[in-house]
Symmetry: C2
């Protein structure tokens, strides 16, 4: 049985719920940190547990290349391989291959692409993506889609959407035929509603570019194929922010209220609050981890670029309101020194803080919804 989703409270279009997976229950709306290569860069798993994510995201394309699906499967899937007992979601590899614009070739059957590591040639199809994602053994896996580029004309957007729909149906068929091959088969899913053999959950992805009619059609036809959850893909591909929001709002109207809704690749601290308020249940983004590596830190008082000389002798914690182990122990002066000296500990500590900030933000969002309040960004309130 796939994971169950229960909505507990709503505040306007925003909802607070629980997604029950074979590796734990996830409080939604949830932000999922990105651990591309089966590691949230620089963070030992026990520290990550303490920071608190109930689910993390890993990238099929990268893991397929290194260490290879076979190795991960033999070590018990991603949970066993990286020693992470909580839930995991994998993307389909479609978006990552899309990013290799010069190195890929799309046909009906699938996508031929060259590895960014060594230029070797590979082929991903809906079937091979499902095979890889079943071997990796994440709790939630994604249908293989084509991420439509932006801008794209009406004809190209429709053709791309139609291709994604055919690939979505093929993804579901392969998954249904092979879902019991997951590396942790035999695991029983504990849920208030039912105890049954746990399986992965395959989510469909809505495409349709920036065309609201196509988004509606894509949503309706994806729902017809039928999934336990739906993602909104093909955004954050270079379009202006107001357009992203417009497409998300329009698409959300056509998604079933009783299924989790996942907005892929979003966003800033302000955006994750905004989209949770609109009724998005799941989000992921490299921003908190990538920005940390570049010394950009999110705080309750706004963004801090820790490399600046003004922090060189600043004894204050990074964020006086933050309870994370970095803000409880170190000064801005020390963090600035580590960054300026290119010390690895800079990346470790900055990542711990930024992830703590994102997860605290989502905790506050969930509390707001529980109280019947529409979540608002504390940063937006200040501006």
């Amino acid at each position: 049985m796939p994971c169950a989703f229960h909505i507990q409270t709503t505040a306007g279009p925003g909802r607070r719920g629980q997604l029950v997976t074979p590796h734990g229950t996830i409080e939604t709306p949830v932000f999922m940190p990105v651990g591309t290569l089966a590691t949230v860069k620089g963070i030992p798993q026990d520290l990550l547990e303490e920071i608190g994510p109930e689910i993390i995201l890993s990238n099929t394309y990268h893991l397929y290349l290194r260490p290879g699906v076979d190795t991960v499967r033999k070590l018990g899937g991603l949970h066993g391989f990286m020693s992470w007992p909580r839930a995991v979601l994998t993307d389909s590899g479609g978006f990552q291959v899309f990013s290799l614009s010069e190195l890929r070739k799309v046909k009906e059957e699938g996508v031929t692409f060259r590895s960014h590591l060594d230029g070797s040639s590979h082929f991903f199809s809906p079937e091979s993506s499902m095979e890889a994602q079943i071997g990796l053994g994440a709790d939630v896996i994604m249908a293989f889609d084509e991420c439509t580029e932006h801008p794209a004309d009406a004809r190209r957007t429709r053709e791309s959407m139609e291709l994604t729909l055919r690939w979505t149906a093929r993804s579901k068929k392969y998954f249904e035929d092979h879902k019991h091959d997951v590396p942790w088969k035999g695991l029983v899913q504990k849920d208030a509603q039912s105890d049954g053999a746990a399986t992965q959950s395959l989510f469909g992805i809505v495409q349709g570019g920036m065309d609201l009619a196509l988004r509606r059609e894509s949503a309706e036809r994806t729902i017809e194929i039928g999934f336990p959850g739906y993602a909104i893909g093909g955004l954050s591909v270079g379009e202006p922010r107001h357009l992203t929001r417009e497409v998300v709002e329009a698409t959300l109207q056509h998604l079933p209220a009783d299924k989790p809704r996942y907005l892929m690749g979003v966003g800033t601290p302000e955006e994750i609050v905004e989209y949770a308020a609109l009724g998005i249940d799941m989000m992921d983004c490299v921003l908190p981890t990538r920005a940390a590596r570049h010394g950009l830190l999110f705080t309750s008082e706004g963004r801090i670029s820790i490399k600046q000389a003004r922090y060189a002798q600043d004894e204050a914690p990074l964020d006086p309101k933050c309870p994370c182990r970095v803000c409880q122990r170190y000064s801005r002066a020390y963090l600035r020194h580590l960054y300026a000296a290119n010390e690895v500990l800079a990346q470790v500590l900055n990542t711990i803080h930024n992830l703590s900030f994102y997860l605290d933000t989502m905790r506050t969002v969930r509390q707001s919804i529980s109280l019947g309040d529409v979540p608002r960004s504390p940063l937006a309130a200040r501006q």
Copy 2:
């Protein structure tokens, strides 16, 4: 008052003791991890506390360049700056400047050198090294010496030794005149024997190249100047291993039994056991941390180069006998993947393990001495 040293038991020439510093009591023989830039590379201080070193070493030359002594002093010295409540030792900068062979010029007054970072010109003297080390505020600081190169002829070795002796006397004079300027003045040292205002402890360094007579003379004349502890410097500069051991054994005979003896820059897991058995009380080396970054791991079963393909699907822990959090949680396959993918977590986890192995090794050494046994390397016993 400087730190006190108490010997508790002996086994042959080996001794088990306690070094009482303003920031805690250190069980000896002790291995001191190196935290060059006020960070043991990649390890958050709370994880370092768990690994267990009671004292770490930092490098004056590097800290003088970045972030600068003034910044560290303003943040409360190294303890406050890096948020490390336990003891710290700083080197004098002499050895680091010695390593910049092309960029330095030695005169009676001191050494002019160029920064390895930006080529800017700087000057270190016994007085400026003491000033820097007092500002950094380590518990144990080192006299400014010249590390004699190897090989060196008899005349050069004597001249270098004489220069070090003059610099040693100048170091002591400056230190005695300024020792109350330490950033943590007012701290009271808790010791069974006495409660007094805590000060740093300045150790003298014995030089004399590979000439045993000069080593004796250097030891005797350094003792005449008078310090609460003595280091053996000028080794591990390219000489064969048997010669290092010969010089250490010969020099030890001329050092007072009731003062701590510090062998600088040593060594492998086998060497730290061997030198502890000879009566060395303190050692430091970049080997466990640097080797970790290159994927070379020390285990109870010997050395492991984790990059090797043979570990790609190895489910076993790195060292089945090791209680560290890396060996308790991760497989060799995962560690191999992290290293092969150049993930920062490889460095973090490898360093945690190697330091744990070194500190466990020294714990075993101290237990052996307590039982009256001469410590032997478990690795040597296997070979």
